[in-house]
Amino acid sequence: MIEIEIHDQSCRGCQLCVDICPTKVFEYDAAQAKAVIRHAEDCIACLSCAYLCPSGALTHGNYHVVKNFYRDLDFSQKMEKFL
């Protein structure tokens, strides 16, 4: 399963992650004025929240990193055996 964490002290409660997440992983905790993770099991690792978070408070683990296009053909030749 994908792992997701909010670094509590970094979160400034802007709620950008709450708004962007397509699967409603987060909720806003008004008492603490911070985002909290409610449904980590629904995270699809789109990484939109991590890209948007102004505090860099979100980290993900155990997810598939999408394959980028090759920049260097020599390098990609070395990669071939893993693909």
Partner: protein, 175 residues
């Protein structure tokens, strides 16, 4: 015979070229670019799925689409997804049977990023077309693929497969 590396390199170049082309067409003809990309994808989907076995089962049909993509070296990896608040993977609605799909590796997304083009544009409609074409062959149903969310590392889409047999008369008869 071209090596796999050469094939991949030409595919990549073609995709980057397509990205630029789609962006140019969008600027020139606006929303009509969506139909062009959709039709290109639909033809591709129909051509690739010509010999795929027919089924009325949506999950089986999606497995066939995955196989077709892999067989043709298409970097379009997807999987059905059921969030915690959804009672079933396939939901029956008035519009048809609906499944949520997560798309991970996607050559269209990579070509858009490479060029700095926005997501959900006309080129993304190619995927919608591809599914429409493939599912038309496999299930004899019309379908739509709506982008719910386009992210950096994955996209989230809703596939709706109509419940009545398609009226498309261009479909060849098969057993």
């Amino acid at each position: 015979m071209p090596t796999l590396l050469e094939t991949r390199a030409s595919l990549q170049e073609a995709m980057v070229f397509l990205g630029a082309l789609a962006s140019g067409i969008e600027q020139a003809i606006g929303e009509s670019a969506n139909s062009i990309s959709y039709l290109a994808g639909k033809h591709l989907g129909m051509a690739f799925s010509e010999d795929a076995p027919r089924t009325g089962d949506i999950e089986q049909a999606l497995r066939s689409v995955t196989e077709i993509l892999q067989k043709n070296n298409c970097l379009w990896q997807f999987e059905p997804f059921q969030p915690h608040d959804r009672p079933a993977l396939v939901e029956t609605t008035d519009a048809g049977d609906q499944v949520l799909l997560v798309f991970r590796d996607c050559m269209i997304r990579q070509s858009l990023f490479r060029f700095g083009h926005h997501q959900k544009g006309s080129l993304c409609n190619m995927m919608y077309g591809f599914f429409s074409g493939a599912l038309l062959n496999i299930m004899r149903r019309d379908s739509t693929l709506e982008i719910l969310h386009a992210g950096e590392n994955g996209c989230y889409k809703k596939l709706t497969v109509g419940r009545t047999v398609s009226a498309d008369t261009s479909l060849p008869e098969r057993g």
